[in-house]
């Protein structure tokens, strides 16, 4: 146990060191793309829990992302300045104060997204298939329009000037990847619990799961709430590291992009979702020289992938040491023969 703690602490320290080294040596643009990739991966993993592992067809994930971002930013910009008079440790600018505030923002953002997920999920998850998809898309859009009409958070202009909460921005990548690892690890570990197995059961055959005594609605709502919570964390990170949010960056197109990542990667594959999150964020940036044409190429690729490999690139499988060594063995056999 002690060894694991020490190893964990060492890994965290190494990650923090990497993050600071990257922020100092990488151009700001590439650093921001890296952070964006991480956030996209968190979103993909979180939606994967709902879409891929539990098999519920949700395509309005940007709504929960938005709730997390707005509540987290509201803490830092609106509520914290009021409370700081009574609690001086909430002052930003020092590493300790920043960390405390970021953790509080994360907690509040996640909690708000979880509550929203519960409120949205409880009624909607009685439906399934296409109807559930359209309903979640609708809820996502309603959340956006509501945010658009709250003047306290800037309405259509949005909230700007959010402090980064990581002195100089060096630790931004550290936080994003810590959250990503936590989210991916939690998902993976949850899948081996009884609860996780019921998720898989609901995905494979809801009626049979019901017959085996699984409380399907309860199971689906749990997965939905956990997925929303993770999306809220992604929102908090986005708000603080890009220092400005407005309702139109949480539109339907973002929801659709997250869904695309999950399906393209292979529904149910955690590593696949992470890879897709990175690829679908970094590749459009890399092909920026193709201007408008890159999105057309992307869409044709998307269609062809769906037509030739409906189960996604990885399917239900995971990419790990096992699949790597299998590939090596196959290559070895190939060259031997």
């Amino acid at each position: 146990m002690a060894i694991r703690l020490v190893l964990g602490a060492l890994a965290l320290a190494a990650l923090a060191g990497c993050s600071i080294a990257l922020s100092e040596n990488l151009e700001t643009y590439y650093f921001l793309v890296l952070i964006q990739c991480g956030i996209a991966a968190i979103l993909a993993v979180s939606l994967n829990l709902i879409n891929g592992i539990t098999g519920q067809f949700s395509i309005g994930h940007a709504g929960f992302y938005a709730v997390g971002a707005y509540v987290g930013a509201s803490w830092t910009v609106l509520w914290r300045p009021v409370l700081v008079r009574y609690a001086s440790f909430l002052e930003v600018g020092t590493p300790a104060g920043d960390t405390v505030n970021l953790l509080i923002a994360l907690a509040l953002g996640c909690a708000a997204a979880a509550v929203t997920g519960f409120v949205v999920g409880t009624p909607s998850l009685r439906l399934r298939g296409d109807y559930l998809a359209i309903l979640t898309l609708g809820f996502g859009e309603v959340i956006r329009v509501i945010l658009l009409n709250i003047d306290a958070v800037g309405g259509a202009r949005g909230l700007t000037g959010i402090p980064t909460l990581v002195a100089g921005g060096g630790l931004a990548a550290f936080w994003v990847f810590v959250v990503l690892i936590a989210v991916a690890g939690l998902t993976r570990n949850l899948m081996t619990t009884t609860r996780g197995l019921t998720w898989l059961a609901v995905r494979e055959d809801e009626v049979a799961a019901d017959a085996m005594g699984v409380s399907t609605t309860h199971v689906k709502v749990t997965a939905f709430v956990i997925g929303s919570t993770f999306a809220g964390a992604a929102g908090v990170l986005y708000a603080h590291f890009f220092t400005g949010i407005s309702p139109d960056i949480f539109g339907m197109d973002v929801s659709i992009m997250i869904t695309t990542m999950v399906v393209l990667a292979g529904t149910g594959s955690v590593t696949g979702a992470i890879i897709a999150g990175f690829a679908l964020t970094a590749l459009p940036e890399a092909f920026r020289f193709l201007k408008d044409y890159r999105m057309l190429i992307f869409s044709v690729t998307l269609i062809l992938t769906m037509l030739t490999r409906p189960q996604g690139i990885l399917g239900h499988g995971e990419l790990g040491w096992g699949s790597f060594s299998r590939l090596l063995r196959r290559l070895g056999r190939h060259t031997a023969a």
Partner: protein, 369 residues
């Protein structure tokens, strides 16, 4: 009272357009159980075609300078409507043939060539060859080359594929098609909004009580009703229509009874495309909205909500749902809550799906195990 009636008239106008688009959703949902996400973009293509026809292709004359040209302009405008309908019908058939049919039957060689040609378009344009015969030649060479490159990949993948097409899969394919139309439109049409100029004489009459009715509104309502009537006749009283209803009822049984399902499904997409094209042309020519490659998305989603409201698969339901949706939106837009205008569709949808998921006129479906 006057404001109420005025909003009511506006709502009917908006609603008849939603109904035209919703019919396309409902027809396709009826036969394939597929949300054709690209349908809103077909509507956009209708509007874009109308813009090109009114400003470049057809010899419309400026009404301010030549008042006597009104009659020829109206005749030409009807021709524009027909052109938009024909192009969008063809587009619907192409979408079905090359995106949705491979989902059902597997990817064929011809499909790989088609998508090679589509992907070659941006590649050619990004090389900087933008006009004339060289660009067409380059496009064909790159496209056919890509098609040949894709063929072995496609056949290799198709052999390994487990044909387990989920709903999610079909939806993502539809989203991909929608992206192709939007970003293709962005390349060809450009991102700047355009307006169709006044091509037909428009007048606004004031009825007793101060209610204003425009000829444009009357024309939209009349043409929509006419098209819906024709559709109803096709679906209920023709051989093709009966085949469509048979497929909607049970596609496997229809196949066994000798219905050529693929061609009937193509026909369904053509019908839906033609209606959306008509809607797009009417919106562009008579309400003078801003036309951009992305402007079909929101009306498309709202029309889908209208189709769900009426009960997916039900033709009369789609028309009713469209009108109700238009009225709801018009009244919200005219009230204190006008900021929530775009959210009302989704609020209706949420309440409806929770209370009556089969829609107003839909048949309840029992789930079979």
């Amino acid at each position: 009272m006057q404001a109420f009636v005025q909003q009511f008239i506006f709502g009917i106008q908006l609603g008849s357009l939603y109904a035209l688009i919703a019919l396309g959703y409902t027809l396709v949902y009826g036969v394939l159980r597929l949300i054709n996400f690209a349908h809103g973009d077909v509507f956009m293509v209708g509007a874009v075609i109308c813009y090109y026809a009114c400003t470049r292709w057809l010899p419309f004359r400026n009404l301010d300078a030549h008042p006597e040209a009104a009659a020829t302009n109206i005749a030409l405008a009807l021709l524009v409507l027909l052109i938009a309908m024909a192009v969008c019908a063809l587009l619907g058939v192409l979408i079905e043939r090359f995106a949705y049919r491979p989902l059902r039957n597997g990817l064929r060689v011809a499909d790989a060539h088609f998508w090679g040609l589509v992907a070659a378009l941006p590649l050619t344009l990004s090389l900087g060859i933008r006009s004339g015969a060289p660009s067409v030649a380059a496009w064909l060479v790159i496209g056919i080359g890509l098609g040949y490159a894709l063929r072995p990949v496609a056949s290799w993948l198709a052999r390994r594929t487990v044909r387990a097409t989920s709903r999610l899969n079909a939806l993502i394919t539809a989203i991909g098609v929608s992206f192709v139309l939007e970003y293709g439109g962005l390349i060809i049409f450009g991102a700047d909004p355009n307006f169709v100029p006044n091509v037909v004489p428009e007048a606004v009459y004031t009825l007793p009580g101060g209610i204003r009715v425009g000829t444009a509104q009357c024309a939209i309502l009349a043409i929509s009703l006419l098209l819906m009537g024709i559709l109803r006749w096709i679906v209920l009283y023709t051989r093709r229509g009966r085949a469509m209803r048979a497929i909607a009822h049970d596609i496997e049984a229809a196949k066994l009874m000798g219905v050529d399902t693929d061609s009937v499904i193509s026909f369904t997409f053509a019908l839906g495309g033609a209606l959306a094209g008509a809607g797009g042309a009417l919106v562009a020519a008579l309400t003078h909205v801003k036309i951009t490659p992305l402007f079909g998305l929101l009306p498309g989603i709202k029309a889908f909500v209208a189709a769900v409201l009426g009960g997916p698969g039900s033709v009369a339901g789609a028309a009713l749902g469209g009108i109700l949706m238009g009225l709801a939106e018009a009244f919200v837009a005219g009230s204190r809550f006008s900021a929530f205008r775009d959210a009302i569709a989704f609020c209706i949808l949420i309440v409806l799906l929770l209370v009556r998921p089969t829609g107003l006129l839909g048949q309840p479906v029992t789930e079979k195990v």
